[in-house]
């Protein structure tokens, strides 16, 4: 789960990391009101996407009136398909130098790693490619935590002026605490700036929370911004279904994440030549029952791009007859007119296929292999697009 910049910085502030003392607005008037006490401000679009600056989502304003005007431009703007509903109005900083400081999990080492770079304000992946020597890394023992000397290794490694070491170390240690307590998989300050007043301050921040750990962090549910994601994803999550909207025409309903990806891949493999691809990733999970299948179908069909639906169910815990029943329930309710291709294998697959064929639904066809099913779905979508 991604946190917005303003949410991240609020959390940083709770851990004592210095951040600009701004606040958020959802209307131009609110933005002007906030700017009144702050002097020159920077108005920043709050969307869960990079490249906000380039897209015109970050602007300076030297008066409250200007802040209103700029907020008016930014609010409602679309950035990488996401509508801006909220801006952060921060006092503008006098930047002397920008550095990067972040913590991320290193899968290979099975440890978190503290990463710093003398080149802040740029994406760390770009620095990693173009100037890898500017990056310093320190692995963190997951049980013992970050040691003070490690922050010193990093401060000296990025040639930070000595006078800032204590402040830098304190920020790094607090960032680790915040990371650990939040079950984060990423916490970064970019840029961490040295101001003209010789202070270190976290000008921008980003946090990603481990979805696997959300069960023990109910506090993050309240921070979830459902306006920042397609409505269908919100509904899917509430129904316990893993769903990601994509841009293709074939809706996919699959059990298992790996098989769901493979099914998308097949759709692309056989449809790419005709400009046809998967409309979504969808994993109905293990042991999915009729009502969950129906919910999943409704979610898939809520996407107007969908011209055909492909069901690929490999029964194990999931039973074929349950899936078929869910499908029929959903069909009778929605009566979709798109073509549907279904492939059931495994536990109770035969019973399931029998239910389907007995249903007499005209636009529902069976397939016996994934290849066949993908090809049939592509052909059907192609037809539907004409």
């Amino acid at each position: 789960m991604n946190l917005h910049e303003y949410q991240t910085k609020q959390r940083f502030a709770e851990y004592g990391i210095p951040v600009p003392m701004g606040s958020t607005a959802t209307t131009p008037d609110e933005a002007a009101e906030i700017a009144r006490t702050l002097g020159t401000v920077v108005v920043k679009a709050q969307v869960l996407s990079g490249g906000r600056g380039k897209a015109g989502g970050v602007k300076l304003a030297s008066t409250p009136e200007e802040a209103r005007e700029v907020a008016n431009q930014i609010l409602g703007m679309e950035i990488k398909g996401l509508t801006v509903h909220r801006v952060l109005v921060d006092p503008a900083a006098h930047i002397e130098k920008e550095i990067y400081l972040g913590i991320v999990n290193d899968r290979s080492a099975a440890k978190p790693v503290l990463i710093a770079s003398s080149e802040g304000g740029v994406e760390i992946e770009i620095v990693a490619k173009e100037n890898p020597k500017a990056i310093v890394r320190e692995h963190i023992d997951p049980v013992l935590g970050l040691h003070h000397y490690q922050t010193m290794n990093v401060a000296s490694g990025i040639n930070l002026p000595r006078e800032h070491w204590n402040a830098f170390s304190s920020i790094a240690l607090k960032l680790w605490e915040c990371y650990l307590d939040s079950d984060a998989t990423l916490a970064e300050i970019n840029p961490l700036v040295i101001t003209a007043e010789n202070q270190l301050i976290a000008l921008d921040g980003k946090m990603v929370i481990d979805d696997n750990a959300l069960l023990r962090h109910p506090e993050f549910e309240a921070l979830r911004d459902t306006t920042a994601e397609p409505e269908a994803e919100t509904r899917a999550r509430e129904a316990g279904i893993a769903y990601v909207k994509l841009n293709g025409q074939i809706g996919c309903m699959v059990n298992g994440a790996g098989l769901a990806m493979a099914t998308m891949d097949m759709v692309k493999l056989y449809g790419e030549a005709d400009g046809i691809g998967p409309a979504n990733f969808l994993d109905i999970g293990g042991g999915a029952q009729a009502d969950r299948v129906a919910a999943a179908l409704r979610i898939i069909l809520s996407d107007p791009n969908v011209k055909a639906v492909l069901f690929n169910i490999f029964g194990g815990i999931t039973r074929g007859d349950e899936v078929a029943r869910g499908l029929l329930t959903a069909y009778n309710e929605i009566k979709p007119d798109v073509a549907m291709v279904i492939r059931l294998v495994g536990t109770n697959a035969e019973e399931g296929m029998e239910l389907i064929s007995n249903s007499g639904i005209p636009n529902l066809t069976g397939a016996s292999t994934l290849t066949e099913a993908a090809r049939m779905a592509v052909a059907a979508a192609k037809e539907g697009m004409q």
Partner: protein
Amino acid sequence: MAIFGSKDTKVIVQGITGREGRFQTRLMIEYGTRVVGGVRAGKGGEWVEGVPVFDTVKGAVDATGADTSIIYVPGPGAADAMYEAIDAGIRLVVCISDPVPIMDMMKVSAYLKQHPETRLIGPNCPGFLTPSDRVKVGIIPGYVATPGPVGVVSKSGTLTYEVIYALTQAGLGQSTCIGIGGDPIPGTNFIEVLEMFESDPETEKVVLIGEIGGRAEIDAAAYIKSRMTKPVAAFIAGRSAPPGTRMGHAGAIVEGGEGSAEDKMNALREAGVRVADNPEQIPSLLK
């Protein structure tokens, strides 16, 4: 003994009294696995599916001589279950549980390094199955597999069943099938399994099923190139997944330009692996 277990492997089920634990215990016993006990604190003395329940793993091990454990306890309690199995001297721990917080897994991983006598498979994995011995510790449906010379290792669950099923349909039986799970910090990785297949006399050919995210497949390719003599075929799921978006599995995300399916497929091809575009092609690549 096959690479992870045999007819004689004595298995206990941690979390046997839960819905999933109870159901899978029955399926494992039906398949032929020697399930000697279950564990659930406070339920010691009860029986589930004809198997005695103990309060602790230590108690179960003392009473039954179990050397293998399978964990079905819900995600937030999974780490504790793993520590308990390690402390009790269990040789092989298979963790089915999902979701397990990544920080928990990093800590468990550090603990495992201090206890090399225990191997962990998973978490968030389907476990393993060896058809010739009629032993399965996990949730891979028994009917998809049949004895034979192909070793299958995968990050996935149902996609693995799909591939095993395709092999079986094509008359290619399996030596051992194992799912290592799609989480970022797996107990057992591709290379470790490939090493075992390489030295396992029952395995002649190997199938590797990977997916986007991380660099485990790249590392596996390097291992295959430098050390493996047995032929390998592979499929990588997620070519059509957009970067920066998690696809179900905690580990399945292309981040910072790393972990794309293309990179992995290229690395495997360079290592001499036959890489399939379609998982159903796998059997033909092994012939």
